[in-house]
């Protein structure tokens, strides 16, 4: 088993299902890459680097987006 901490919550994966790239994680979660902003281990990842950003067991991932606000 391997795990990622996504938005503060632990998500566990069998080793063969672990998303190796950030872009794999985003499609596994059925999220729209265009509207997502990502931080991995505290570093902002540019959208054009989503498919070059490797994930490892235990990493901290934040996925955020714009919502209504004043």
């Amino acid at each position: 088993m391997a795990e990622l901490k996504i938005n503060g919550n632990i998500r566990k994966y069998p080793s063969d299902k672990f998303p190796s790239l950030l872009s794999d994680l985003i499609s596994e979660l059925n999220l729209d890459e265009i509207s997502i902003i990502a931080e991995v281990e505290g570093a902002i990842i540019r959208k054009d680097k989503f498919n070059q950003t490797y994930l490892k067991d235990g990493m901290n991932v934040e996925l955020v987006k714009f919502v209504g606000g004043g």
Binding site: N7, D32, I36, I44, R46, K65, V67, G69, G70
Partner: protein, 257 residues
């Protein structure tokens, strides 16, 4: 009046009404309210994605050709958190405008002046166009202006309280002293509150809750638009002075006696 443009950081705005996008019952109503308001400055917030229910893309709902998108740092409790949100927001949107909100107190959501100044200094150096939300503190407004803030946004009363302008004396001083546009933000619950701010000489106002939670957000958006225009028009017309005693409107000669 037609040439009376608001200019912030070199960008011209035809409307002096800024609109927030929170708390609307549907994105359809929000979109209609923004359209009717004729606002050209629209705020959004940044939040964690709910992975089980990601929802729609907010930015698709806003006409970004017409409106300047103004991401906020709401939820930030200190300068560090606000800077992080600003950086993420710029990365996400390519927009370097930021409505800086640093509100450590969850009950009144009053802005922290020290952290707001620190964050402004840093974000201006990083190339952001910073619009800080502040308490109505004239000295702080000058410090922020010196630090490179593009506007100051003093509160009328606490966010979402709909209590109107309760900080009048200090907002008057801010308007008198500021060289950057003054945007009265927070607490404006009625069109008359917005007209009041504009009559005082504010350069613009920002409303969100007053539209979003009204029974008819679209109709009140129109009322706010008209109130802001009326208030501005009145300010430019140099209104009559306030007097203690009566001054007859009719001639005081030629009485029938």
């Amino acid at each position: 009046m037609n040439n009376d443009k608001l200019i912030i950081a070199g960008r011209e705005f035809n409307s002096r009404l800024f609109v927030g996008t929170g708390k609307f019952s549907s994105s359809k109503i929000m979109k209609e309210a923004i359209t009717v308001s004729e606002s050209e400055m629209v705020t959004v917030a940044l939040r964690r994605v709910d992975i089980s229910n990601p929802g729609d893309d907010m930015l698709e709902k806003i006409d970004t050709k017409k409106c300047q998108l103004l991401p906020n740092t709401s939820g930030a409790r200190d300068a560090e958190e606000a800077i992080r949100v600003a950086m993420l927001s710029r990365e996400a949107s390519g927009i370097d405008w930021i409505k800086l909100e640093v509100t450590p107190d969850p009950y009144y959501l009053l802005p922290d002046p020290i952290e707001t100044l620190k964050a402004t200094q840093k974000l201006v150096k990083e190339g952001f166009i910073v619009l800080p939300y502040i308490n109505a503190d004239p000295i702080l407004a000058l410090h922020l202006q010196d630090a490179g803030a593009s506007t100051v946004m003093p509160l009328g009363s606490p966010i979402g309280s709909n209590r109107g302008i309760q900080t009048r004396a200090n907002i008057e001083i801010i308007i008198e002293q500021a060289k950057v546009p003054v945007v009265v933000d927070a607490g404006l619950g009625l069109p008359s509150h917005a007209a009041d701010a504009m009559e005082m000489g504010a350069d613009a106002v920002l409303v969100n809750t007053a539209l979003a939670v009204a029974g008819d957000p679209v109709q009140i958006a129109k009322a706010f638009k008209l109130a802001v225009q009326a208030g501005r028009m009145a300010f430019l017309a140099s209104p009559a002075n306030v007097n203690k005693y009566a001054e007859a409107s009719s001639p005081l000669t030629g009485f029938l006696n």
